[in-house]
Symmetry: C2
Subunit: 285 residues, 2 copies
């Protein structure tokens, strides 16, 4: 089994906290250090068992870390990776959890030092809840974790990153950064926009008449605005393309309704249902 | 407590079966008779405890029934109500569970005998699953049940219908049939079309990269095509209006993405989130 001396987690919210708990629950490291800007949050994460120690002073803490996991908001990740690469041991592995990958990878690869130690990652696990209080040691169990190394990523770092993410329960999948962003625009970013637009389409006075379809269809609209605005802005081209395809499907439904065409309505619905039946819950794969 | 001699349930699937279980669990009737066209399904419903007896011969069974609950597909309800009104005791109460109301009410009110005994109803409970095997005695507990009496509905039947639906756990709300269809177009029919269009937007090859937002956003696309095509076709005007409003919200997101306008993205998201926060799970009200 993989074992580490020190793992540093930058940003101990839902994902960072869950990674810390997974490492500690599996006994994978001597020490898990949480790095953050807010002492109260670090204390909370320590109280919840997500980290062994917390600090607001990364330079001291990073010195001995073998692995640094950057779990800050998507639009801060590239800068944080470069900053931490500059103050880490040259043998460090730095990885992240950002929901978009192309822009992060491009920004990091422009930095000579950071490029040699970084492997971009995206564990597909989350929740509309936020903060270490929602963290769970099994959040990543059986979840796909996409790694997006490029031909500039050192092979040894790529392999170390794959071992790290596997060791805490992830099912590692390798993709090109842009292919990741294109796929996630459809599987994750589009469903978020669709949920928010759905919430906006149901006036407050009629929500009492909503049931399961509304509940599930709008669930992720309860997510944090800062987090999602940052993700959307990191992936606009693919998200716009996904939205345009989504609207074409909505238009087909609208046309079939206008024409009162049961064959077309049934055909659209049956194709949707067949695609949906291919989805398997993480963990049940 | 309200008590009945015989209650007849026409169509013992998910909803009909759950109504039968609720009546039997609460001891509200001496006898619950299931009426259907398929002997195997009736036997299954009896085996599951949803009904006391099943029959494919409604005329004999309806003779002594005080309450008849029509749980057939939306596009068959009006004809079934008229047919059963003709062969029932004159003091009978007939009610239904259709997901749309205006067309059903108009069709029933064109029939002199049926008009005097019918109170249209829509219990807001369902599932993407179908059939008596998915039925539960608590499916309606705390769920809104919309009744849509008109000025042609006898007051005593309206009050009896309200008592009936309350007695099996529903929270009765009275609405005009067209107001019901307009509200449900947004709270239920639109979320179903949105879910199906979302499922159509995620190609089979990328479903492996889907997680919670996709799972919830597409859940109801697994529902039965016949059931939903019938519902859509009973409520096209309101559903098209709801789709048009939905597309306007999607267009606002698209424009804010094109303009890279974080203020507008945040504003859209925050309004969606505030609306969504007003939703309360049935039972937690």
């Amino acid at each position: 089994m993989q074992r580490y001396g020190t793992v540093a987690i930058v940003g101990v919210g839902l994902i960072g906290g869950s990674i810390g708990m997974a490492i500690r629950a599996r006994g994978l490291a001597d020490r898990v250090i949480g790095i953050g800007r807010d002492t109260d949050r670090l204390d909370e994460a320590r109280g919840l068992g997500a980290i062994d120690e917390g600090t607001t002073d990364p330079e001291g803490a990073l010195d001995g870390a073998e692995v640094v996991v950057v779990c800050t908001p998507t639009d801060r990740i590239a800068a944080d990776v470069c900053r931490f690469a500059a103050s880490s041991h040259p043998d460090v592995l730095i990885t992240d959890v950002g929901s978009t990958k192309r822009r992060i990878v491009e920004a990091v690869e422009a930095d000579d030092r950071a490029r040699g130690v970084f492997v971009a990652a995206h564990p597909l696990a989350g929740s509309e809840r936020r903060g270490a209080a929602a963290a769970r040691s099994d959040l990543l169990d059986g979840r796909v974790c996409v790694l997006t190394p490029t031909d500039r990523t050192p092979i040894d770092r790529r392999d170390r990153a794959a071992r790290f993410w596997s060791s805490i329960g992830g099912r590692v999948v390798m993709l090109d950064p842009d292919a990741h962003d294109s796929a996630l625009a459809r599987t994750s970013h589009l469903p978020h926009v669709a949920a928010a637009a759905l919430a906006l389409s149901v006036p407050a006075g009629t929500i009492e008449l909503a049931a399961g379809a509304y509940r599930d269809g709008t669930r992720v609209a309860a997510s944090d605005p800062d987090l999602w605005v940052a993700i959307f802005r990191e992936n606009p081209e693919h998200l716009i393309a996904a939205l345009d395809e989504y609207r074409r499907h909505l238009d087909r439904f609208r046309e079939a309704l206008t024409d009162d065409d049961p064959g077309e309505l049934r055909s659209l619905w049956s194709r949707a249902r067949a695609l949906r039946s291919r989805f398997r819950e993480p963990g049940s794969r």
